[in-house]
Symmetry: C2
Subunit: 408 residues, 2 copies
């Protein structure tokens, strides 16, 4: 027997997901049985839904998509801070909520895990604010509903919210496989135009710098971006939020730039005096810009964002980060300007006999980082030091700008 | 200097509140200084906002109103499960959220603790679903805004949501005191009619029973309700949710009724065969009714709810629980039917040498309860046993039907 639950799990598996996080609850228990029976998926239980949401967030940052399963009402509300964080940083999460069976929802009765007001769509309304797509799976059209939701998750790189009733889930739908359609934006001409313009700007620049943003990671473009940098031979700065978007062991890595309070003052001067600032998938927040105190000339920026490109006072819409970065990765460039090589900020030598200071701590920590590590940092005070850790080859750095103190 | 923050705190203090719960965060730090400087209010810090919300919930159940203070975005989202629980059980909570200063909100910049989308009202939209009143305090009309919000909290016995910007909070407003207006509903005639009808029904009844609901507690009517029962001389059952709404040491206490699965089968029979069921401020949920398996005849019900009274197939609106119960507490009745006296369900004698069973555990626990205790129970499996604990005089029983597993 092949059911709606089987279909949903097969689609998730096809995205490359291998682990599903969550917490059992009254209205998802039977769905968890379907997960356990699926050979390609592992269930990873958490002690509470907030942890599970953060697990899914971390999993998505490393593997592309994360999945979290909670129960209705109380379960999903416990997860909301994690989901909101993923939303704020463009992390694609599939949040599946086990909801009461259809007959109970239609019964006009007060059911536990509800707000006691005979309404069942309050939590969906709450989640409209922190997910890009919400759907209550029904008996009529479950396949299309599932495909459409997952499509949004992958296209927009944001969390989606799937309400899965205990009865609809078990509906037999026969062996069925309908591919999820990912619409192509025909942006070839625009891509050619903007990349040609960028080519010319790079050619004429005497001091260019690239800012690597977090969307390079969420759109899975690190490999292409790296190739672009190696071809262009231009210095790259990471920011607090996109720290591992560019490989910090690369020779073109110039350091961490956060505007006025940048630790390496020579780097700050280098960026602020650049005649071309190429921003790729980046968004400055108060914390990553020393409270919006950026020293460079914004008119010199060439901004490549996820759905538009902006430069010379114009904005070209309907052009994807994906298309632009892939195109750039296959181009050759003629950059003839100067570059800047990153300094090691956290390199204080520590005498084991002395008291350990804050600086010492991060210098010691810094010396322990190896290739292929995953460094997870809380936000807040520690993030201001942790952003300067020297990442090695293939090291992932995970932090959430939403700054939830419950991160750990 | 007397500011908006001072005014808000004075109004809270005037409600009889002595303790404020919460967690410090970037956008409420300065407000906390105002709390510390207020002689009549104590600040009680929690390790996370969910705990603080539950503290405020418990405080409100015992003292009438609870106050919780969180920071913007991440702070308030951590509290939402507790607030939703208070909402589901008619507990008046004042939730104060410290929000970014007005100039920053108007700046169109990406600020930490937001969703990174230049919007600042997303969390308010989320809280619209779990509070009865939401207000963003502004420079124009802070006094009216505060009064109106607190008015809603007290009238509707639900959580309210006050957004307090760091700059508005510090605005000087001079020494000002404007009383909060609690509009009176002129329901005297309706109250006389329905209480006369109830008087006659009681007079003609041969087997009456009263169901005491949780709203007796949230509307602070226990004293009046108790007086009504002593005058009427009719047996009272408590439910899982309104367990301490009626004093279980009272001679008229008949036990806990939950429909089909009621532990005391004679009590179940007594209720199911009653010719008059007076329901006061009660709402049956799946868990308090053995999944809606109630054996009594619903046509025999006389329902006194918070804003209406229903009997004989009619519904009289705009009549308050408050008015009806107070009126009943001053009446004499002529009940001539039979009553039922509560049995002690958890009275197993335990041999200290034997292994402790589930039954033993609750019987031992039961024997430890004294006058004036506050018994707090988690929901879920344990609540099905805990509901039968024998409360002594002036014992409070606190449990949340929303069933959040994070209760503790």
């Amino acid at each position: 027997m092949y059911t709606v639950a089987n279909y949903l799990l097969d689609k998730i598996s096809k995205l490359g997901v291998k682990k599903i996080f969550g917490v059992p609850g009254d209205f998802n228990l039977e769905f968890l049985d379907f997960i356990l029976k699926n050979d390609k998926l592992d269930w990873v239980g958490s002690v509470n839904e907030l942890n599970a949401a953060y697990c899914a967030d971390g999993y998505a940052r490393v593997n592309g998509v994360g999945v979290v399963v909670t129960t209705y009402g109380v379960g999903e509300l416990s997860a909301i801070n994690g989901i909101a964080g993923s939303y704020s940083e463009d992390i694609p999460i599939i949040h599946i909520v086990g909801v009461p069976p259809t007959f109970l929802v239609n019964s006009n009765k007060v059911v536990h895990h509800t707000l006691g007001n005979y309404k069942f769509d309050e939590f969906k309304k709450i989640y409209e604010n922190v997910t890009c797509h919400q759907v209550w799976i029904d008996f009529i059209n479950p396949i299309d509903q599932i495909n459409s939701a997952i499509q949004s998750c992958i296209i927009y790189k944001k969390p989606i919210y799937i309400m899965l009733p205990t009865d609809v889930m078990k509906m037999e739908i026969g062996p069925i496989n309908r591919d999820i359609y990912f619409p192509t934006i025909y942006d070839f001409e625009s891509v050619n135009n903007v990349t040609n313009d960028l080519y010319n700007k790079i050619k004429n620049s005497k001091q260019a710098v690239i800012i690597a943003g977090n969307k390079i990671t969420s759109y899975r473009l690190k490999k292409y971006f790296n190739r672009f940098v190696n071809n262009a031979k231009i210095s790259v700065v990471n920011t607090m939020y996109g720290k591992s978007s560019f490989d910090e062991s690369n020779d073109f890595f110039a350091g961490i730039y956060i505007g006025k309070n940048t630790a390496d003052k020579q780097l700050q001067e280098f960026v602020d005096n650049a005649d071309l600032i190429i921003s790729v998938g980046n968004k400055f927040t108060d914390l990553s810009s020393s409270n919006f105190q950026l020293g460079f000339n914004k008119e010199k920026m060439f901004i490549i964002d996820d759905k538009c490109v902006c430069y010379d006072g114009k904005q070209i819409d309907n052009i994807l980060l994906n298309s632009v970065v892939k195109k750039l990765s296959n181009m050759e460039f003629n950059y003839d300007g100067i570059n800047y090589k990153a300094k090691n900020i956290l390199s204080k030598s520590v005498d084991p006999k002395d008291k350990i200071t804050y600086d010492d701590f991060y210098s010691i920590l810094n010396s322990t980082i190896s290739n292929d590590d995953i460094v997870v940092s809380d936000m807040g005070t520690c993030s201001f030091a942790a952003q300067y850790l020297n990442l090695k080859e293939n090291t992932e750095f995970i932090m959430q700008p939403f700054i939830c103190v419950n991160w750990f």
